[in-house]
């Protein structure tokens, strides 16, 4: 395939592989904690960060990183304030993120191609600098998740018992919010802010249909995301499509097949 010799395609693949593993791993914890909409809230906050960067001449990717981290901390604070209605926290942060993004975009008159690349993802927009940031932060996040996997499992499954095991639950919750924020920010370059949450949730949804252990949930989720991203990049290159949409459609198609197979096997019980 001669298109592999194109440098931006290589960068897109590198970013795609890292993004897919990162976002689908974090997605497992997010879905199991019944926080599926957190990706949407954070990605809209990241859009505000992009707009902030464009308005003040800061590299937009940095803006996205900072804004998603702030949004994640806000969600944790609001979740505690609205204990029984924790989804309120997600709705508030998402609305504030969109509001802030729209205001800053209109202030900076930045309805341009670069903004659209952050909205829908882009193959050509991934720069060497992006790859370096993604590589460094992405590997740090993945390593820390592996190191903390026992704590994360315990807190995700049963917070109260985790506390009685001596696990610092509040700290783990904060850590999980921060890595979710970083994963979203790192993924917006290739998938786009509007669709990053789908890549966080759909691979986990597929793996929940077929997995026979917690370990397998991660493996299948990673594989579905990886396959969707790689195939999505190839298709979007040849048909000149936005990669975010293509990737999400592929993973949705895999989910539909998984549900169909499960339905047929169980006799639609």
């Amino acid at each position: 395939m001669d298109f592999l010799s194109i440098s931006f395609i290589n960068r897109a693949f590198a970013a795609g592989v890292l993004t897919s593993i990162l976002i689908s791993t974090v997605g497992v914890f997010v879905v199991l904690r019944r926080m599926s909409m957190v990706g949407d809230s954070l990605s809209h906050a990241s859009l505000a960060g992009v707009a902030f960067g464009m308005l003040f001449g800061i590299y937009p990717f940095y803006g996205a990183l900072v804004f998603t981290v702030i949004a994640a901390i806000l969600i944790e604070i609001l979740r505690k304030a609205f204990k029984k209605y924790s989804e309120v926290a997600l709705a508030v942060v998402m609305s504030a993120g969109i509001g802030l993004a729209v205001v800053m975009i209109s202030l900076g008159k930045s309805y341009n191609r670069d903004l659209f690349s952050y909205l829908f993802g882009s193959l050509i927009a991934v720069s060497e600098k992006d790859i370096k940031i993604m590589g460094f932060l992405g590997l740090a996040v993945i390593t820390s998740i592996i190191a903390l996997n026992r704590e994360l499992f315990a807190v995700t499954f049963d917070e109260e018992s985790a506390k009685i095991s001596g696990i610092p639950v509040n700290l783990i919750n904060l850590y999980l919010s921060l890595v979710t924020a970083l994963s979203v920010a790192l993924s917006v370059r290739i998938v786009g802010t509007l669709l990053v949450s789908a890549l966080m949730v759909i691979p986990t949804a597929v793996s929940l249909q077929v997995s026979k252990s917690f370990k397998m949930v991660f493996i299948i989720s990673n594989l579905v995301a990886l396959f969707s991203v790689i195939l999505g990049i190839i298709i979007s290159y040849y048909f000149d499509l936005a990669p975010g949409g293509t990737i999400v459609l592929i993973s949705s198609f895999i989910l539909a097949i998984a549900l169909l197979i499960k339905g047929v096997r169980s006799g639609w019980d």
């Binding site: 704590e151 109260e160 009685i164 001596g166 252990s213 917690f214 370990k215």
Partner: protein
């Protein structure tokens, strides 16, 4: 005189300013089997959460193994089984082994370092409860009784000295309940594990417990001589007549 394994001293607790427990005093000795009974809404679960440090009392102190629960760090001495009707996702996509294994925690990264010891403890906990054959089954594939045994094995994986159980048999049929109670009695008598259980099962409380705690009217009345308390007395309590608490000793 032995130091009690658990002691509540003048404990009071309120929800949004409404007191639900007032001046509760109780002592649990090593090897005790304390059944906490009382009508719905009597604050039995609240009391248990105070005992394990999940809730902080407004007034009073909780001492566990002679230490204030706020400073307590030896968590491997405590096993806890929460109500399954609460916030636990019983459809969680994990195997029985993974769930039991998850509770073996003695510090950051130590689960990796002590892998052999950890695996041995998980195996022993599954065997103690008699569910070793289910180890590779998913939690969601199990019956209510089997699920509760998984939670018991999970609590036992740390070899605790005291077990707290909050209405563990609420989703079980009669034979599973009997089986589960026998298991608890065995752990208490043969392994010397102190048991504190919240239950609505009066017959079991009278037959197996060494102490009965009646939680009613924001107070806890402890009957140390279980022989005095008949099922009829406690049935009165559940029917909102507090016969059992009429013969109480605070």
């Amino acid at each position: 005189m032995f130091t009690p394994i658990l002691e509540l001293i003048d404990v009071s607790f309120s929800y949004n300013g409404n007191p639900v427990l007032e001046n509760v005093n109780l002592k649990v000795e090593k090897g005790d089997f304390l059944a906490l009974i009382g009508p719905n809404g009597a604050a039995k679960t609240t009391l248990m959460k105070i005992m394990v440090g999940l809730l902080t009392p407004k007034y009073g102190r909780v001492l566990i193994f002679g230490e204030n629960i706020r400073e307590f760090k030896k968590w491997d001495k405590i096993g806890y089984i929460p109500q399954l009707t609460g916030e636990i996702n019983t459809g969680f996509p994990a195997t029985v082994w993974e769930i039991v294994d998850s509770n073996y925690y003695n510090g950051f990264l130590k689960g990796f370092i002590n892998k052999d010891r950890r695996e041995k403890s998980v195996k022993q906990a599954l065997e103690k409860v008699g569910i070793d054959k289910l180890s590779q089954k998913m939690l969601k594939e199990l019956s209510g009784g089997e699920k509760q045994k998984v939670f018991l094995a999970r609590a036992l994986v740390k070899n605790p000295e005291i077990l707290f159980l909050d209405e563990p048999t609420s989703a079980m049929d009669a034979p599973s309940r009997e089986d589960f109670y026998n298991l608890l009695t065995d752990l208490n008598k043969n392994l010397g594990i102190t048991v504190i259980i919240v239950t609505h099962d009066i017959g079991f409380a009278c037959e197996k417990a060494t102490k009965i705690g009646c939680v009613k009217g924001k107070r806890v009345f402890i009957h140390e001589n279980v022989g005095e308390v008949t099922e009829g007395h406690i049935a009165g309590l559940m029917g909102y007549k507090i016969a059992a608490c009429d013969i109480h000793k605070e």
